[in-house]
């Protein structure tokens, strides 16, 4: 058998068909609703604050001054001082350097792990699916917060343990979402066509399946960052998060709570910092959802 004859190209009648309006790859960004940009602005401000905290904070956040504790806001101390005389404004700024990385890592790592595991489970099926999804069942069988507390105790208090605990817990959601999507996409004609074209499994998964399911992760991720940040604040509030004296919003709320009637700004401002970040991320998440799920 000789190889099939090489195609000749002459004489193909040109076909004129109306062109649809070219949208181009920047179409997606143009389609993003305004709220995304508002959200991006808010979150970018937080990131900027975290980066520039050493420059813009008037005081060292850990500098204790017992002589000037629980001071009211003045020109010197814009938000007063806490029970140890530390500058609250500087601490709120510095706390962004703790809460942001943990919130982002604590959401990105499970998103990556869950997306990959869910894609593998859905694409390969059989025992791969069984192992991954039964593990997910086991994780989900525990009450979420209890599991994090147990893990943090086992691994020792600190940022690293919290991120690991969030990852162990939160990958499950991504795995379930992505697995379902992969099951849908796996049997679409273009995946079949890729198989018939002789592409290997890994390439089909990477090029033909993955880009078409990743939307779901992107839509869910911003709200998960909110969750991670809130969870971190909650654990710190309970004394299980970042150990003192590090400035952290949840821990600051806990510190300020006894003084809420006299120095209301002490607990409220870190609280507002969390709310603002959550708002920005939620706007991004909602906007993504509108644009991507149409």
């Amino acid at each position: 058998m000789t190889s099939p004859p090489s195609p000749a190209y002459e004489g193909v009648p040109p076909t004129i068909e109306p062109l649809e309006v070219p949208i181009g790859e920047r179409g997606l960004w143009r389609r993003m609703p305004k709220k995304v940009w508002v959200g991006v602005g808010i979150v970018a401000t937080y990131i900027l604050v975290a980066l520039l905290a050493p420059v813009i904070a008037p005081y060292d956040p850990l500098l204790i001054n017992p002589a000037n504790s629980l001071a009211s806001p003045t020109a010197d101390h814009l938000l007063g001082t806490d029970q140890l005389g530390r500058d609250i404004f500087s601490r709120v700024l510095y706390a962004a350097r703790v809460d942001l990385p943990i919130g982002f890592l604590g959401a990105f790592l499970p998103a990556i792990a869950g997306t990959l595991l869910g894609a593998l489970a859905g694409f390969y099926g059989r025992w791969v699916d069984t192992v991954i999804m039964r593990t997910a069942d086991v994780v989900q069988a525990f009450p979420a917060y209890i599991l994090v507390i147990v893990l943090v105790f086992a691994l020792g208090q600190g940022a690293r343990s919290i991120i690991i605990a969030f990852t162990v817990l939160a990958w499950v959601v991504y795995a379930r979402i992505i697995r379902g999507e992969v099951l849908r996409v796996r049997d679409l004609d273009y995946v079949h066509a890729a198989r018939v074209a002789g592409l290997r499994n890994l390439r089909i998964l990477r090029v033909h399946v993955f880009p078409n399911v990743i939307n779901q992760t992107i839509v869910y991720l911003p709200s998960d960052i909110v969750f991670a940040t809130l969870a971190l604040a909650s654990f710190s509030f309970l004394g299980l998060g970042i150990p003192p004296p590090t400035a952290e919003w949840g821990a600051m709320i806990a510190d300020g709570q006894p003084f809420i009637t006299t120095n209301w700004w002490f607990a409220t401002v870190p609280g507002l910092a969390i709310v603002g970040l959550g708002l920005g991320l939620s706007l991004i998440g909602e906007g993504f959802e509108e644009a991507l799920r149409g």
């Binding site: 195609p7 193909v12 076909t15 004129i16 109306p18 079949h192 066509a193 018939v196 074209a197 880009p211």
Partner: protein
């Protein structure tokens, strides 16, 4: 070079549905010569599409395929193969729905270039040029510009042409067509059929074309196989089958289709419904709906008997068929 390209013997597709065995394709045998175009016609659920997909192993995991499949990949005569052997070599497929047949996250040029990159060892640049050549071959105007577009920017007809270009990128000897024109409007349908016909002659490529549309099959095929309830009930050259059907189902199928400028404007539907694959009737499966059914039909074994050179029928009483109301 002539000779058989594909030989399918006693193909059986069985699904295990909640412990019950269902056999929607039940003993299909086909042969296909090099460069030949075979049409498979039948209603939805007749097993025509499943038969086609089992040739290249595109069945869901809960399906089992039985029977003997042989393909002449690089040999003189067909030899047994596994679907993975012909993936990317020798056999390609195009689908019905151009919306779902192209990866929406890939530029069409990159999509077409995948095959050449993988199987011809072409570099990026070379494969891109090859993709543009292929787009030109399937009649896509300004291919250089369109290669950089995304599938959603193309019309249905152009998408179908891209799908054909992708299928051709591995230089197949056999192109499987799973109702590729059904989702297109009639004028585009005609263009695509013309294109396939032309490519077939130019590339000496065999085609199996599955459709419920007899007019489409008549336009592109040399030979026709009519499927009913998981079995082939009649085969023969297209013109002869149309002129003188030898199975009551074929006849019924033709009288139920409107034809432009027909002498009669009567359309006759087929009584009853196609049988449920979970519960096929005994003997001839068309007997319960057949106008000519005799007592012995429900006891007849399925067997394709030769009635004329190149023509077979499963009907045991073909002499009773009156012809198409001449």
């Amino acid at each position: 070079m002539s000779g058989n390209l594909l030989e399918v013997t006693d193909l059986r597709v069985t699904f295990d549905v909640h412990g019950r065995r269902v056999t929607p394709v039940d003993g299909v045998s086909l042969t296909l010569e090099r460069g030949e175009a075979l049409g498979i016609a039948g209603e939805s659920g007749s097993g025509k599409s499943l038969s086609l997909k089992s040739i290249i192993g595109l069945l869901p995991p809960n399906a089992t395929v039985g029977g003997d499949l042989r393909f002449a990949l690089d040999q003189e005569s067909p030899i047994p193969y596994a679907p993975a052997d012909v993936h990317g070599h020798g056999i390609s497929i195009i689908f019905q729905e151009p919306m779902t047949a192209l990866n929406p996250t890939m530029r069409v040029g990159d999509l077409i270039a995948e095959g050449p990159k993988l199987h011809k060892g072409m570099g990026k640049k070379e494969a891109e040029e090859r993709a543009i050549e292929l787009m030109r071959l399937v009649g896509i105007p300004t291919p250089e510009r369109r290669a950089r577009m995304w599938p959603h920017q193309l019309s249905g007809g152009l998408r179908q042409r891209v799908m054909i270009a992708t299928a051709l990128s591995v230089e197949p000897q056999l192109l499987l067509c799973d109702e590729p024109t059904t989702a297109l409007d009639v004028s585009i349908q005609d263009q695509i059929l013309g294109l396939l016909q032309e490519l077939r002659t130019r590339l000496n490529m065999a085609i199996i074309f599955v459709s419920h549309d007899l007019a489409v099959l008549g336009e592109i095929c040399d030979r026709l196989a009519i499927m009913y309830a998981g079995r082939i009930v009649e085969t023969g050259p297209v013109d002869e089958v149309f002129a003188d059907p030898q199975h009551p189902y074929t006849e019924a199928l033709m009288t139920s289709v409107p034809s432009f400028g027909a002498t009669t404007d009567m359309l006759i539907g087929i009584e009853g419904r196609p049988p449920d694959p979970r519960d096929f009737p005994p003997g001839c499966r068309f007997a319960p709906r057949c106008d000519y059914a005799q007592e012995d039909c429900t006891a007849a074994d399925h067997h394709l008997a030769s009635v004329a050179p190149g023509r077979t029928t499963a009907c045991i009483h073909p002499e009773l068929i009156e012809g198409l109301g001449q």
